[in-house]
Symmetry: none
Subunit: 215 residues, 4 copies
DNA sequence: GATGAATGAGTCTTCATTCAT
DNA sequence: GATGAATGAAGACTCATTCAT
């Protein structure tokens, strides 16, 4: 367990430096000097620099995968919009809490090595799939207008990436309004026109909702 | 002229390699071996690798800046939506025509050196400003619903970046439907709810329009 | 301390090579192969080749500055001639002891880079000033004939440089007679004619002296 | 002859640049840009950079050899001191007239390649021999005191080199006094003590002389 | 002859990784 | 386990020289 603590100490420092300078401009000397360990010690805990980076990347991806949950339909499940909101909120919270980590994923994405690049690509591909499936489901449920769900999924993914990327770079405390803003924009973008009439921002809660009965 | 032709030959090859392998994994040896020139020849035309890359980057940014035009309001000017469509179409056409070049900007963005990173950031910042100003204008004209225009501008920018990024990587011939899809999504996301009733995709043209008279 | 020892090992080898081949014909490969260290190791101890050379140069200049002492006049101080003799002896001893080092200063002087060239120039300028001041003092004390002390100072400096340069290149054990020869030549060149009658080489000691009472 | 004119044009420019920056810091680009000829043209007139330099060096050495004439003893020949004076005057005149050329020899001496270095060494060796022979002759003629003529020859050579080196770097118009100063210093340094009484500087001419009849 | 684009050997420098202590 | 000195492969850049036009 001592070992694990040590690893984490180094990871903590490396994370900060990678976020600040990017993968290529960060060298092992930077990491060990900040972590206050010897050169050799570094290689006692990590196979190499790429390995350390991979681990950090896996942390972000893992946490992100965990926080982005597939929409569930069924009795007892929250409304779809509510599930989207929760997903978004979880993602943005993570960004806020681990700004450096997410900055690595979002602002220094790509250009490491073939395998890591593919892993990031794969992650985004998965998320896109999930968004697309949700849209397809929405169409089936007659909540979403018919559209090229792949293209729209990319739009949605991109929008979130961008907002999240900005969030990871700039100081910001309260994500609530931001979540609503994104959700609002996205939902309006895909909603069935018929539902749009009922879609408005409830003044009291500032929340987007499709539930006319709440209104 | 001879000189310029040579430069362009090298740029052409370098472009392809940068797009394929990214900035850091590409070395001068790669470039010269593909361009079939000697090491010294490279330095006859470019100060160094970074310089060559900067030139390519400037090509993309310059062309993009040129193709993204500010919305003009006034008699004789096309409808705002039409102007958006034209911008989008011009951007996507460029991506299709110069897939490798745009891939550099979109998929290998960031992590070069401080200055180039800033230049890319600056470009996106400018585009975001432009989107935001358009939204603000739209609100004034009562075409756009009130919203946090900065946040929404990021969503829109991100959506376009993502679609464009995908486009630069995958083969695709016809951008028409894609343009409409993005436009549709984005317009619905920001439009005044009152206008949404009149907004639909005309079956014949496949075009989004706010003009109820077309209907 | 280990570090310092290593540095000195490299300096020792570099010194020999610089002395043999000169600065420009010596490359880092030469140095590391003689010092039997790896390329990287070299840069562990020195920023670059120029840096290493600068250090050697500074060693010579420092030691030379240290060994050339300003003439002191006053009760209890040795006779001026004796002080000159001691200076000269100290300089020549150093040359003999550190033939390679002084060879660098004397036979490969100039042509490195602007800054190092200036440093050597500056050193010689300082020495010339010192010689000139001694001559001026000698004139005041009526030991030295009136003359253009600047020009004569250059003659003296040049004479010493040349002898010393030869000494650094050729094998020679005993500097005593050489010191006397230079001193004799120089003193006769500048002495007040009135004193010259009393100036002769004492047969027993082989030493030049202005002290008539010894006679 | 056209060819020769061209060569000299290039030599003239190269001379200036070599004098200013030294051999190693001067590159072919410098030379051709100043001489306003194409790269290839350079190699039409000179085998290579080293060759061009060698030619300049040979110019200085040749001219110097020519201006330094062996002392002649015999009826109808000028006095030895007068011959020394003439030699010195000729050397210094050349320095003044061809400052850049002599600067190359004197201030950037050594460190080119083995062969050129040896050639310069050889030149100085010859001059030293000549000085030594003159001293030996002087001893025979009872004009010069007994001394280590080799060592003294180096002193004299060095003195002249230094003065000449300074002269080549700094602006100076009138060499007359300088010649006398050096001559005075050198002659006093080696003269038979008996002659020193008669040696003084004639006020009117400023010239050193051993001729008591002038007095 | 003249040109200047092209060449590639030579050099320096960096930095991730290893290994003896 | 920890250390940090040592390594050497990898890569960038320069510049004297050649050669096709």
């Amino acid at each position: 367990m001592e070992r694990q603590a040590r690893r984490e100490q180094v990871l903590r420092h490396a994370k900060r430096i990678f976020a600040r300078k990017g993968y290529h401009r960060t060298n092992v000397a930077d990491i060990i000097s900040h972590a206050r360990i010897a050169r050799g010690t570094f290689y006692l805990y990590f196979q190499n620099k790429r390995d350390l980076f991979e681990e950090l990347l896996e942390q972000v991806l893992g946490e992100m995968r965990h926080r982005i949950q597939r929409l569930r339909v069924g009795a007892g499940e929250p409304e779809p919009v509510e599930q989207l909101r929760t997903n978004l909120r979880r993602v943005l919270s993570f960004v806020l809490a681990e700004r450096e980590l997410t900055d690595i994923l979002l602002n220094h994405s790509m250009g490491f090595d073939r395998e890591l690049d593919l892993r990031i690509d794969g992650f985004y591909e998965k998320v896109t799939d999930q968004i697309q499936r949700s849209l397809d489901l929405g169409i089936q449920m007659n909540l979403v207008r018919t559209c090229n769900t792949r293209a729209v999924a990319y739009c949605i993914l991109g929008g979130i990436k961008e907002v999240v990327g900005q969030l990871s770079r700039h100081r910001r405390r309260d994500i609530g309004p931001l979540v609503e803003e994104i959700l609002d924009f996205g939902l309006r973008g895909v909603a069935q026109p018929e539902l749009l009439a009922g879609l408005r921002r409830a003044n009291e809660t500032g929340r987007v909702s499709f539930s006319p009965e709440i209104d």
